[in-house]
Symmetry: C2
Subunit: 284 residues, 2 copies
């Protein structure tokens, strides 16, 4: 695996791979890789002969009071596990390489309507525009045939699919199912922020989502009641919940009564750590 820090070097290597007739799959990450990321890399390897992984902690998607500075950066360990997974190219640019002026506030923005202000967008202003913008820039650098994202960041995945469709980017977007710890907690770099007591309680987030799923599957259709109960269960478990929301799976629309493919999404804070998770639901 070769590590590249400049767009010019990356493009040259990707061009060489493509000249050999290889398809290119791309896995964008913020590093601090865990088994969930490696699952994305494995999926990418089934899609293409050349897998490009990026590690870039994107300042544009962090709010002023969020954890950009403290976000875990573990480059040597990340390199080692990607080497073990036989990723082909690792792109590890610095902020200046991605935002030439260095000024994230003055850069061309890509905005997908309906995401800022909804679900996580309500609690993290600028988050989704920051992601859409950086992913567009990374796509234009790598020029992959397909890109792989985790379903753990489900709203992000739906947004990227919408963006790719709206702007006709020549890229297939794949979602990969969330990897979970033995007790069910969704794998996340931010789990590392939890102390022992918080870690023990954290699994309630997944359990509460599974309870919502069970309620819907049992025929309870009052989504707002289910959502409010779930918020209460999270609060009782020591969470500070941002939202619990039942939506249509593909569009993230508030479900109409006939919808059968649903998803329940939640975000909740344990201390200063914000966790998100989601569970898909298929009702008869």
């Amino acid at each position: 695996m070769e590590t590249l820090t400049t767009t010019a070097a990356l493009r040259e290597r990707v061009r060489a791979q493509r000249a050999q007739g290889k398809r290119i799959a791309f896995v964008p990450t913020m590093g601090n890789l865990h088994a969930g990321h490696l699952q994305l890399v494995r999926h990418a390897k089934t899609m293409a002969e050349c897998v490009v992984v990026s590690i870039f902690v994107n300042p544009m998607q962090f709010g002023p009071n969020e954890d950009f500075a403290s976000y875990p950066r573990t480059r040597d360990a990340d390199k080692a596990v990607l080497q073990d997974e036989a990723a082909d190219l690792l792109f590890m640019p610095d902020v200046q390489e991605i935002y030439a002026g260095g000024d994230v506030g003055r850069v061309t923005r890509v905005e997908v309507p309906g995401f800022e202000g909804d679900l996580c967008g309500q609690f993290r202003p600028g988050f989704f525009t920051g992601i859409a913008t950086v992913v567009t820039g990374l796509f234009n650098r790598v020029q992959p045939d397909c890109a792989v994202f985790g379903e753990k960041d489900y709203q992000q995945l739906v947004m990227i699919k919408r963006m790719v469709r709206d702007l006709c980017m020549p890229i297939e977007v794949h979602g990969v199912a969330t990897m979970r710890e033995a007790d069910g907690l969704a794998m996340s770099s931010r789990n590392g922020y939890l102390d022992t007591a918080q870690r023990a309680r954290a699994v309630r987030l997944y359990q509460v989502l599974c309870e919502v799923k069970a309620g819907l599957e049992a025929g309870r259709r009052y989504v707002d009641v289910l959502e409010q109960q779930a918020m209460g269960h999270l609060a009782a478990a020591g969470f500070n919940p941002d939202y619990v929301s039942i939506r249509e799976q593909d569009s993230l629309k508030v479900p109409n009564p006939q919808a059968t493919q649903l998803i329940v999404l939640a975000a909740a804070r344990l201390g200063t750590t914000r966790l998100i998770d989601n569970v898909k639901i298929s009702i008869a």
Copy 2:
């Protein structure tokens, strides 16, 4: 020359050209082609072995009270002149092909900060975001090596260059000097809206810009005075001027006193027809 109306057909033809080792140059237009457009095509032919021209009147860049419905559509004549120029591929999609949902207000937007609200952006809200968005979508469909734009739409050209740089689009952007009628009027599809008396007066726009240039070259450095005088001269000639503005040539910033590469840009209405023009200035 082959005419294509779908992205799928376009991509297949472009892929075939590229497989022959040809470079691809792209000229996006709104049709109603005149000698200025043909100059862009000729420039494109010097840059690449395969020239793709698009004709698409983009609803997203027109305001609700602007001339989207009445904008001149002359497809057969356009095809004939492109055939004569030996363009290779003509992409002529309908609105549904570019905006899949058909709803221009709900589509992923590309916005270059500093353009909405400045110069033409002040008078045409949504105009530059509409252009940045459609050009991104066209770039993603054609995937050219280079793209050619006229300097007549100078603010647009600067914005496209900024967007391409910010989002690292793998495309070279070329500007081509404005073509003018015998009397100096910049060629424009909207010149066709002018009646005989208006057409006779229209050349004053270019003349007034040349007078500003002469003033700056003669050492007059009070840009706001020159701008105000030019506004007065336009009004005296029967124009309703939106703005006359002296800027730095590359950045469109308000010039600092040391700047030597300037440009004067103007927009002014004759009746209901809005004309724009610009003249570059190099001072010692």
